[in-house]
């Protein structure tokens, strides 16, 4: 909320200056976002008198002035203003002054051959208005040589204060003054309740048919007004608060809104037909509002309507049709109490933000409805003339005072502060709370304007706020007893481990958006979670895979000419059955650049990805030797060059070449391989690993090579598993070291060569032993369809 210091001083007697007030506001929890003093930028400008004004020898429209700025050394100034003349007083800026309205810094310069030492300024040049027809003319008694801003009353710092949603009472300058006074920054001036002489009953009958939306509707008519411009002081206050001065009637409602946080509405009685009723809107009713937009209403909304039309979206914005104008003669002033929840819901449904809404939806002071109406009516009569009617009242105000039980020990318990009960009582009283201190617990009556105070903890906050939150002393958190346990969960530890592993293996960690486009989601299995209100179509569906994000990242990096891209991300996939922590990895472009040793660059292959995935799974404690490869992986992968890795029946990971269509759609021409590990599918690591005593074999291991012919549909993994199974005690490893098709190998077959490692347990193997082993290896291979190569 923006307001000038002078407005605050209307309600608060204080010797404090702007810095002290700003400091106090901060201490109170009213965050000062900025203080701007218009006088600061006008500091270089002084009151000066034109001593002489002669025609410019080279230009008809210019004049050469001699200007006295009070230092006894008149300066020569070239000026183009038609009203510049000898004897007048105006505002002068010397060379070096920055002119706020035009953004230039004045210099001594020759204008058409005549030296000019500064400028006599117009209103616009000083950012004080739109007038640029001539230079500012000051009255004859203006003191030459004095700073202009101070003399003109512009030394009025403007505060911009952020009001938290709970503090409705500070949505008006008066409430802020009340809070400052409670802190001891000055004295709150008493509100003057005007004595009103009325002329008779209110000519417009009013009613509320919607007591849940508008519990109370109060009004007074003022007849015979003249709605001219408002007086200078009111225009200045509003302008400095960032509002435009419109007319006296409109300015008065704005004065109450900003000054007291009390929105009012003024109707031109000539434009009403019949009485005014607060009621629910009828579905489809429309209103052209004061902001020039037309709103379509429904029966969840409260409106004020006459016999023929809606005139006000209750508590949010009035209608154009019944608004006041320069010709308005008779007005009805509405002061209502609207239900905060209704205002919030209506405002959200209409997407309509207004000063009135922001005050009503937080809940205005129900005790200040009638006084505000009286003060406003008196102000209208004062500024616009006219006669005031009796007050018309419909409905009833929520006026039951609320009380709380309160134990002053709570301040120590919650805040760790020691504040004497008497002091607590004093502080609460300063804020308008009424305290009955005996017996315990205290009975505390909440002032009508503090709707936000609902419980004892709120009273603690009030006391802490006034006593000074800076008095809270740090107290060390007691250490938890017992042996320290890991504070991270197994999943977090797994993620940390994999993150460091992937980085160590050369990949860079990315964090990409959790939401992707519907098209991307569909290509990667479909995203069941959609956003109702996405920022854009590109960020509309929660990702079912991390790969679209990495693919888009690869595309951006490729566009930046990165030759080799290794990216990984640890994040969640969002599926119908929940959120699944996932490691995704993508390799694109060169895995090894061309080099003087190995020649050509090497592109990423699916087996590079397999190596990464297996390394990650091994680091995660998965028994990788028991994994089975199932081809192919999900449809976003290449159908012939991708696979799932399963343990038992559990899918742990997928990897492979991405489908060429995916790459084309992502606009990528690089070879790309990718993989995802489903971290929540991995078997849990079981506690700490137990290590039996180390007993190395005394016997040398032996190696035997076998070459088999097998159908090319046979998974090599199946052959290896069969060979290993041939003698589980003796065979410790079997590894494929060659794969060959071509001359000597029949079509549809493949030659696979295996190195088998044997580890004798208790005695050296004999030739007969080896012969028997070979036979069982060959027999095991035969069972999966592989024949020893002759």
């Amino acid at each position: 909320m923006k307001f000038p210091l002078s407005w605050l001083r209307r309600y608060l007697d204080t010797p404090a200056g702007a810095p002290a007030i700003a400091d106090a506001l901060t201490r109170l929890g009213l965050e000062v976002e900025s203080i701007e003093n218009p006088a600061e930028k006008l500091a270089p400008f002084v009151i000066a008198q034109v001593l002489s004004a002669e025609p410019h020898p080279q230009a008809d429209k210019l004049r050469v002035l001699t200007v006295d700025r009070g230092d006894g050394q008149p300066l020569q100034v070239v000026c183009g203003a038609p009203n510049a003349r000898a004897g007048m007083k105006g505002v002068f800026g010397a060379a070096g002054a920055f002119v706020p309205g035009s953004g230039i810094t004045l210099k001594v310069a020759a204008i058409r051959g005549v030296e000019s030492n500064g400028m006599m300024c117009s209103s616009r040049e000083l950012d004080l208005g739109d007038d640029h027809d001539g230079i500012i003319e000051l009255p004859a008694n203006a003191p030459v040589g004095q700073p202009y801003a101070g003399w003109a009353g512009l030394d009025d710092p403007i505060f911009d204060v952020a009001i938290t949603p709970n503090r409705q009472d500070c949505m008006g300058v008066h409430g802020i003054a009340r809070d400052l006074a409670a802190l001891g920054i000055g004295t709150l001036k008493p509100l003057v309740h005007p004595a009103i002489t009325t002329t008779g009953p209110c000519p417009i009958p009013i009613r509320t048919d919607d007591e849940s939306g508008c519990p109370a509707f109060l009004a007074r008519a003022v007849t015979g007004v003249v709605n001219g411009p408002s007086p200078e002081w009111l225009q200045q206050l509003l302008t400095r608060a960032g509002l435009r001065s419109i007319s006296a009637l409109v300015d008065i409602t704005n004065y109450f809104s900003i000054g007291y946080g009390r929105p009012l509405h003024v109707y031109d009685m000539a434009k009403l037909s019949g009485g005014l009723t607060a009621r629910r809107a009828i579905n489809g009713e429309t209103l052209l509002a004061l902001n020039g937009k037309t709103y379509t209403l429904d029966d969840s909304m409260t409106v004020i309507a006459d016999d023929s039309a809606v005139h006000d979206i209750g508590g949010i914005m009035g209608g154009e049709q019944s608004g006041v104008s320069a010709t308005t003669r008779d007005v009805l002033i509405e002061a209502a109490y609207f239900a905060p929840d209704r205002i919030g819901a209506t405002g959200r449904a209409l997407g309509l933000v207004s000063d009135a809404r922001s005050r009503f939806e937080r809940g205005v002071d129900p005790a200040f409805v009638a006084p505000a109406l009286d003060m406003a009516a008196a102000m209208v009569a004062d500024l616009c003339g006219g006669a005031i009617s009796d007050m018309a009242v419909a409905g009833s105000l929520p006026d039951a005072p609320r009380t709380l039980g309160y134990d002053p020990a709570l301040v120590t318990r919650l805040a760790g502060l020691d504040v004497a009960p008497a002091e607590q009582q004093r502080l609460l009283a300063a804020l308008g709370f009424m305290v009955e201190p005996v017996p315990l617990p205290w009975r505390v009556t909440i002032p009508s304007w503090r709707r936000d105070v609902q419980g004892a903890a709120d009273l603690v906050e009030e006391i802490v706020r006034l006593h000074g939150i800076d008095k809270v002393q740090s107290v060390a958190l007691p250490r938890a007893e017992g042996v320290a346990r890991p504070t991270a969960t197994p999943m977090q530890l797994l993620e940390r481990r994999l993150r460091r592993l992937m980085a160590a293996r050369g990949a860079d960690e990315a964090i990409t958006w959790s939401f992707i486009s519907a098209a991307e989601a569909d290509r990667f299995g479909g995203g069941p979670w959609v956003l109702d209100n996405p920022l854009s179509a590109d960020l509309a569906v929660m990702r079912p895979s991390l790969l679209p994000g990495l693919l888009a990242a690869a595309q951006r990096n490729a566009a930046r000419s990165q030759p080799g891209i290794r990216l990984f991300e640890l994040g969640r996939r969002y599926l119908a059955d929940g959120e699944h922590p996932t490691l995704a990895l993508l390799l694109a472009g060169e895995m090894a650049p061309r080099g003087w040793q190995q020649g050509k660059a090497r592109a990423a292959t699916a087996f590079d990805m397999k190596a990464e995935i297996l390394a990650a799974l091994a680091a995660a404690g998965v028994p990788v030797e028991r994994l089975q490869t199932r081809q192919p992986a999900s449809p976003h992968y290449h159908p012939g060059r991708s696979a799932k890795l399963v343990l038992g029946q559990q899918l742990l990971a997928e990897f492979g070449d991405l489908h060429p269509e995916q790459l084309a759609l992502a606009g990528l021409s690089l070879p790309i391989v990718a993989g995802e590990i489903h971290l929540d599918a991995l078997p849990e690591r079981r506690g700490k690993r137990a290590r039996p005593a180390f007993r190395p074999s005394a016997l040398q291991p032996l190696n035997r090579d076998f070459a088999f012919l097998a159908p090319d549909t046979l998974a090599a993994e199946a052959l290896v598993r069969a060979v290993r199974g041939a003698d589980k005690a003796l065979i410790t490893d079997a590894r494929i070291f060659d794969r060959f098709t071509g001359p000597g190998v029949p079509d549809g077959q493949v030659s696979l060569a295996l190195a088998v490692t044997l580890q004798p347990a208790d005695r050296t193997l004999t030739d007969a032993d080896l012969e028997a082993l070979s036979k069982s290896v060959v027999a095991a291979a035969a069972k999966v369809g592989a024949a020893l190569r002759g």
Binding site: P19, D23, L28, G29, V32, P165, N166, G344, E361, T412, R413, L414, A415, G416, G455, A457, V460, E461, R465, I469, D470, V472, S474, V475, L477, T487, A488, T489, M491, Q492, R496, R500, L501, M502, A503, A504, R505, G506, D508, E509, A510, W513, S514, W529, V530, L531, N533, P534, M542, R556, N557, R560, G571, A576, D577, E579, A592, G595, W596, Q598
Partner: protein, 393 residues
């Protein structure tokens, strides 16, 4: 005869010492020591000598044999050494040629900062907790004392989510006890309306519902607001802290935050300023500013004693987090008795912490995956933050 032998031996020895190749050496050796060589031939003649002379003569010949063998061995060693030297010289390559370098990966600054936070708070006994990012309305708002029409909802630009095709999700995570007390009667639709969590605070609710106090947790993670400009991204990261026990008060909160800020920024002279503020789920609520100073155009945490509102001062306050005592209604909503259990909560933007500590200026770059940025601001895999090894890398 001896003179003759001596001269023959001299000449053979000279041949050995002159030998330029191993082959020349072997030939000379053969002439001296081979089966038909000079010395074996002389030995063969010993039988014809008188016994006394034979002994003398044998001694002499054996000495010559040993000398000759020594000379051969010495020469052989010399030749081998020379051959090796020559071979090694021929094998020289330019060692300034580049080696194949292993690619260097990196850890994202957000992850690094999360690890730092976990480490700092582990020392204070705070466990790391998590919760769903697609959260129901009740956990994200209502349970946190933000009922549906509360103006505070306007502080959060919320993304609303639903399952396409009208499926109903399985309830996420915990089983919730009935809310205690008469507070916050819970609209039935609340748990079927989904949002992307707007803060990490719902993890407070889930934790308090799932475990008995004392509770000490931090909850780092992704959060979402429908806001996008130079300083806001629709997805960012927060860390939540929650300590619930008997007798935990604002003094403990202040100490915890001071300890955290000092440890995180690794400065001793940190001044924190608590300002009264408002969050629906804490009461009293505070916003926390940290004293900063400008040094050569960059903001440094700690150091000066800032003066508010004074632009001339080199010091200034920087708002870094929000905190407060957990609202009694929130504690009651989780099925705990607020007269018995109380404590504090705080929330802080991780991205902002990272920017402040490590000097990034553009938030959007965090999520762009530009390899140049990742390698510039990222961390080496072994730069694991630990208390014993230091948190900053």
């Amino acid at each position: 005869m001896d003179e003759m032998l001596e001269s023959q031996l001299q000449s053979l020895m000279a041949a050995i010492e002159r030998a330029e190749t191993v082959a020349d050496l072997r030939e000379a050796e053969l002439k001296a020591l081979g089966r038909k060589g000079l010395l074996p031939a002389e030995m063969a003649k010993l039988g014809s000598l008188a016994p006394d002379a034979r002994v003398e003569r044998a001694k002499l010949l054996n000495r010559h044999k040993a000398d000759m063998a020594d000379v051969v061995a010495t020469r052989l060693a010399t030749l081998e050494k020379a051959a090796l030297t020559a071979r090694l010289a021929a094998e020289r390559i330019d060692m300034s040629l580049p080696a194949d370098s292993a690619p260097q990966g990196s850890v994202h600054p957000i992850s690094q900062v999360m690890d730092e936070l976990a480490e700092i708070f582990a020392d204070l006994g705070l466990f790391v907790a998590t919760g769903p990012e697609i959260e129901d309305d009740w956990h994200n708002f209502t349970a946190l004392n933000i009922p549906p029409e509360h103006p505070a909802r306007a502080m959060h630009d919320t993304f609303y989510a639903r399952l396409a095709g009208g499926e109903q999700p399985e309830p996420a995570g915990d089983e919730q006890p009935e809310p205690a007390g008469d507070q916050q009667s819970e609209p039935a639709g609340d748990r079927q309306r989904y949002v992307l969590r707007t803060h990490t605070s719902p993890v407070q609710i889930r934790t308090m519902m799932a475990q008995k106090p004392p509770i000490r947790i931090i909850a780092p993670g992704r959060v979402y607001r429908s806001d996008s400009d130079a300083t806001h991204t629709p997805m960012f990261h927060q860390v939540e802290g929650l300590v619930i026990d008997r007798g935990i008060h604002m003094g403990h909160l202040k100490w915890t935050l001071e300890t955290f800020v000092k440890a995180f920024f690794e400065v001793d002279d940190v001044i924190l300023r608590l300002r009264p503020s408002f969050f629906p789920f804490t009461e009293p609520s505070v916003e926390v500013d940290v004293g900063c100073s400008w040094e050569g155009g960059t903001l440094k945490v700690g150091g000066s004693n800032p003066v508010v509102g004074s632009s001339a001062s080199s010091g200034s306050w920087l708002e870094i987090l929000g905190a407060g005592m957990v609202h009694p209604r929130v504690i009651a909503n989780c099925g705990l008795d607020p007269d018995e259990w109380q404590g504090f909560a705080f929330g802080c933007g991780i991205d902002r912490l990272a920017m402040l500590k490590y000097g990034m200026t553009d938030l959007r770059a965090f999520f762009d995956a530009d390899l140049r940025w990742l390698k510039h601001y990222g961390f080496a895999s072994l730069d694991v933050p630990t208390l014993s090894g230091g948190l900053s890398q």
